[in-house]
């Protein structure tokens, strides 16, 4: 396998007594989309900043394009922060032109017609397309996208993902942070962080690890819910079914003794699995 585009080797970062990232090793390879999942405060942003060379690790090593992070290396990165990184007072074209000047590249491909309005006055979905155009126009080898599709509709999300996948097909490595499980399922590999550490890594199937949920169908889900909660169980309502981790099945049967209820098993969703992994660390 070729050398990773970005890599952390056993990296730890402390802020005073607080450990934000603890012994984390991740690597972004050419042509792959790597998803970084974690609750707020799990250490994702700190890890990202170290991988970008913006923050030195307390221990361990970060490699960017096979070297220590440097200013020259940053030109090969396209970074889209959560706030999109656009100038609200400039038009889309002015934003793109400015970024080209910063990166020292000439215009690569003609852009679709862009509105001649200040970016701050455009709908969120259009702003996101401009931000994507901006991070892609200097043909970065490493794309780093922090929650790239928050708040856009599924069609817009599908279009933005087409751009992400096209960049990966062209050989770029993509590192994405997301809270959004539909988006996580689009990634080739996932790294799940909780409480400053990696708690799971691999493909979707590896993360799901065959975990199951038990589904409870009953005519009166509200009554069943309060019976379960009285026994300390925390069912989730999905449609008109209640869902619990499969390990809670026996406790659920006991809590609902005498109630008209049908139990069945279903695979856990990524979000359910994530919550279990994260809660296991808390």
């Amino acid at each position: 396998m070729a050398e990773p585009l970005a890599e952390s080797r056993d990296v730890t970062r402390r802020f005073g007594a607080h450990v934000a990232v603890q012994r984390v090793s991740v690597a972004v390879q050419q042509g792959e989309v790597l998803g970084l999942l974690g609750a707020n405060g799990a250490g994702k942003t700190t890890l990202l900043r170290m991988l970008l060379g913006l923050l030195p690790p307390s221990e361990g090593e970060v490699r960017l394009f096979g070297e220590r992070p440097s200013f020259a290396g940053r030109r090969r990165i396209g970074y889209m922060p959560q706030g999109l990184g656009l100038y609200d007072d400039l038009t889309p074209m002015e934003n793109l032109r400015f970024a080209r000047a910063v990166y020292g590249v000439s215009r690569s491909a003609p852009h679709q017609a862009l509105p001649e309005v200040a970016v701050g006055r455009l709908p969120l979905g259009v702003q996101r397309r401009v931000a994507f155009a901006q991070v892609l126009q200097h043909r970065p080898q490493l794309l780093v996208l922090d929650e790239p599709t928050s708040g856009v509709d599924p069609l817009m999300r599908a279009r933005l993902w087409q751009e992400v996948r096209a960049a990966a097909d062209g050989g770029a490595g993509v590192l994405i942070t997301t809270h959004h499980m539909e988006e996580a399922e689009q990634c080739d590999r996932l790294v799940v962080m909780a409480d400053a550490q990696v708690v799971a890594a691999g493909g979707l199937e590896d993360i799901l690890a065959g975990e199951e949920m038990v589904l409870l169908d009953t005519p009166d889900w509200a009554a069943a819910m309060s019976l379960l909660e009285a026994k300390g169980l925390e069912p989730a309502l999905v449609g008109r079914s209640l869902r619990l981790p499969a390990a809670a099945e026996e406790a659920a049967r006991q809590a609902l003794a005498g109630v008209d209820v049908r139990l069945r098993r279903a695979p856990a969703t990524l979000e359910e699995r994530f919550v279990e992994l994260a809660a296991g660390r808390a």
Binding site: G125, G151, A158, D188
Partner: protein
């Protein structure tokens, strides 16, 4: 008891924000409206909550004091503490006494906010702010609870707490209406409404919306030909290709795929985009 909208149209100037939209909101059920930025979700929620009056159509809702409404801005006062925010809401809705104290304590504890009661609204994380906003809106056990994107940008742990609050309100007999851009949340509701440019593109259970997808869906590994690229999207490394006319056989190299909600919604939104072009050709 059931609330809702029948044939509701809202215009801002000449721009139609909602076009003859129907939505039933039965007691004890969670309904989700899904769509992108500018689809009309906020306008629909405002109409349902009584915050704006439609140009035409019928809105049935409980008295204003029996509605709980969380605007997209979260409705939390930044300069008041968590406790003061709730006190303010309780006074506004005229609820007080031991029952309020018990309910308030239970909701705060379940949402993990009981330890931050003195913290100012401006000092809360995004997830905490949203949870406080939902508790504020449901503190008085409203008959109708209307929540505008309570989970956008919120991490999965807070999302779990928010959905517990939502299910709890429904279990108490409240009719709940939620706007979201996330399809996994649309699947958690008993029924969903897909909105685009102020029009209802589909409505019903998740299964019904999947069945409402016109045409056929194909899946393949190679990029589709140029003339079809506008009807294609990515799912991980694979492609999906939508034939709106429902050709019986797939193009060469493609196989039939069973659509899920994400595919169906993407196709329905694409269909909505293609429609004006068809009309223009006539």
């Amino acid at each position: 008891m059931s609330w809702g909208l029948v044939g509701v149209t809202v215009r801002f100037g000449r721009t139609p924000a909602l076009q003859s939209v129907d939505l039933e909101l039965p007691a004890g059920e969670v309904r989700v409206v899904v769509g992108g930025d500018g689809a009309g979700k906020t306008t629909l929620l405002k109409a349902a909550a009584g915050a704006l009056h439609p140009e035409s159509g019928e809105v049935s809702r409980p008295a204003a004091t029996r509605v709980g409404y969380l605007p997209a801005s979260s409705g939390v006062y930044p300069d008041l503490s968590v406790a003061e925010n709730l006190q303010f809401a309780a006074a506004a809705y005229g609820v007080a006494g031991e029952a309020l104290r018990a309910r308030r304590g239970m909701l705060l504890a379940r949402a993990g906010l009981d330890r931050v009661e003195r913290r100012l609204g401006s000092e809360l994380s995004g997830g905490m702010r949203q949870k406080l906003g939902v508790i504020r809106a449901m503190l008085h056990r409203p008959d109708l609870l209307v929540l505008d994107e309570p989970t956008t940008g919120v991490d999965p742990m807070s999302r779990r707490d928010l959905w517990w609050l939502i299910a709890h309100a429904a279990a108490e007999g409240t009719a709940v209406l939620i706007a979201t851009t996330y399809l996994d949340e649309a699947e958690r509701a008993s029924k969903l409404l897909l909105l685009d440019h102020g029009r209802a593109l589909a409505a019903g259970t998740a299964e019904e919306v999947v069945q409402a997808m016109p045409g056929r869906l194909w899946t393949g590994d190679a990029k589709p030909a140029d003339d079809a690229a506008g009807r294609a999207w990515r799912r991980g490394r694979r492609w999906r290709l939508w034939s709106p006319d429902g050709d019986a056989a797939p193009p060469q190299g493609w196989q039939a795929a069973a659509p899920d909600l994400q595919d169906a919604v993407t196709a329905l939104l694409l269909g909505g985009e293609l429609r004006p072009v068809e009309g223009g050709a006539a």
